[in-house]
């Protein structure tokens, strides 16, 4: 008998007695106020992320200093050129020297301060982790109230890769000391820029 057949047979033989219907999950009232943009920003900041208002002349005013200091900027958004073309990247290792990556989020979640990316926004998935810093464009109209609403979105069922980022890479494995940039990006800044 194959492992597969053996496991399935054992599961059938050992099925616990009793009826356990799949519960319906009710719609919970979002625990955020009406101002989703403010709620999102507040929660993102608590998770170690940053929020920058776009400047009137320069959309990237809030991160201009960071961009100017960067040697390698990889942009996945039309709003910024950058100097590393992600479309032409052949293997993920090529983006290990990226200082700042700029990507657009599919949506944000006010409850947690999270943003969603799929392989389509990232172009090279690894850039969101190998880069030193991540700059995220988010349309304020794309902020959902809560996690429950997020998981009703179609992206999860159709993307090869979908990921919620909530602030930067973090660890506190040594005596509870919080450290950003554990393995992935050292900072995550969200710019509220309409599509």
């Amino acid at each position: 008998m194959s492992a597969r057949a053996g496991i399935l047979a054992a599961i059938r033989a050992n099925r616990p007695a009793g009826d356990y219907p799949l519960p319906t999950v009710p719609d919970f009232t979002p625990l955020v106020g009406d101002d989703l943009v403010a709620e999102f920003g507040e929660r993102l900041k608590r998770m170690g992320g940053r929020v920058a208002e776009p400047g009137s002349a320069d959309v990237f005013a809030g991160v201009r200093e960071r961009l100017d200091a960067a040697k390698v900027v990889a942009s996945a958004v039309p709003e910024l050129a950058g100097n590393r073309d992600l479309q032409s990247v052949r293997s993920p290792q090529e983006v290990e020297d990226v200082d700042v990556a700029v990507v657009r989020a599919v949506f944000g979640i006010a409850e947690t301060g999270s943003v969603l990316f799929t392989q389509d926004e990232l172009i090279v998935n690894a850039v969101a982790y190998l880069a030193q810093h991540l700059v995220v464009l988010l349309d304020p109209a794309d902020i959902l109230p809560n996690v429950q609403a997020a998981y009703r979105r179609p992206e999860f069922a159709r993307s090869a890769y979908a990921v919620l980022h909530t602030g930067p890479s973090a660890t506190a494995d040594i005596e509870g000391v919080l450290i950003h940039g554990a393995q992935g990006v050292r900072s995550l800044t969200v710019l509220l820029v309409p599509r």
Binding site: M47, E96, A126
Partner: protein, 523 residues
Amino acid sequence: MSVEDLNPRARDGVIHPEVRAPHDESERAQDGGRLQHAEAASKPIRAPQTREKQPRGAKVRGDRPIDQAEAAERFLAAPLHQAAHDERLWDLRKKRDASAHGIPEWEELREIASAIKAHTLTHLDHYLEQFEAAAKANGVHVHWATDGADHNRIVLEILRSHGARTLVKSKSMLTEECGFRHHMAANGIEIIETDLGERIQQLDDEEPSHIVAPAVHKTRMDVAEVFAKTLGTDPDNDDAHYLAESQRETTRPYILKADAGMTGCNFAIAETGTVVTCTNEGNADLSGNVPPLQIHSIGIEKIIPKVEHLGVFIRLLSRSALGSPITQYTSHFRGPRKGTEMHMVLVDNGRSARLGLEEFWTSLKCIRCGACMNTCPVYRRSGGLSYGATYSGPIGLIIDPTFNKRKYSTLPFSSTMNGSCTNVCPVKINIHEQIFAWRKVLVEEHQIPALKQGMMKAAGAVLSRPAAYRAAIGAADSALKVLPRFAVYNPLNTWGKKREMPDAPRQTFHAWYKQNRMKDTGR
């Protein structure tokens, strides 16, 4: 790669300019406030700067029963470690409370999560087949492993067929169960753990002591010692930022050149064939997105039916574990990247058999949040390594005996059955009741020491015969010699070693009652 290549001191600019100076430890928010997301402590928990040798775990000798009490006593004999450990995990429990109390529907969420798991586990064959079909349709190679050895063999074959020699992986309790790392090392495959805590434990050649915080039993000085020996860091620098950064910089070359990447799995979605991982470091995403070959090891009990159910579990997981509303990264791996291969290994390793244990099958609901460990007063004072098993703390007490009844026969007794574990469990496993039930099973199957059972037999004989009981307890002075209830027939008198003995009262209640209330009855 030699130690020289990896030595952060030997290379310029390895310590990143943005790494905090030692005097400014905590990360700050944009507004300057002290942050405490992820597994961060709510206040500094700095073990005193006094060297104290790290206590090691239980002595494991084949199938012989683990002496958890002995290992716990050694942990307690290192008071600096014990105090920091206790305080840190209690802090996580408090953060969990604060977070849970902020959600009015918390108890309802626990109910629903528990019910979804019960449903899935009782229809597991169906959902596994659905998951497999969806994954295959997504272009994923799906494998089935009966046990740990099977899992290791399958992964080794995948690696060999690709000529892969190095593998980076993120944290997975399942691979710990399978003894994966040791097996791969024996077969010439280099495995690099990419979670900081797990990496510390790998470099120290020690098992993880906690499901979520593998090195929580170590102080920063212990870490500095391990890293100095293995990564060549400055042995006198125990700054947490320096240590973490050294790990980042020495691990990254492995991530970049690894032939394969592996992750565990927090949730597997049947309808879409998706593997979901929850990490704070982003290391699962690095393991899954950088190497040209990716493998996901999945315990078959991780299945949940639909994506929408993540809306329940994701809300519970990190809040229960760390008091944080969500982990920094919640990653959904569904299909291979262009030009690469993706493998998923569905592992049984005792789970299907556990499903048949009437009193214990609901332990399969566990989502590995570690909340029961954080709240367990025995765990906090014993350290996870004292259990000598892959799973420690309350959940370990009820899972470990299913792997080896003799070896882990002692563990269900390492509990006061206070029930806090059950109350924090996000999927409502009746942990302390299962501990109670395991004790019965172990006695029935003669897995407890004859001395202990003999004592209970003698106690039962006395306590069921009023005359014998009265003779043992009747006179006030003899009562002290045979402390009832907890110390009766205990030849060692462990009570008096650590606590003062109770005073002997002038007379028992029974004698008082006879003297004061029964004069007229003539009895």
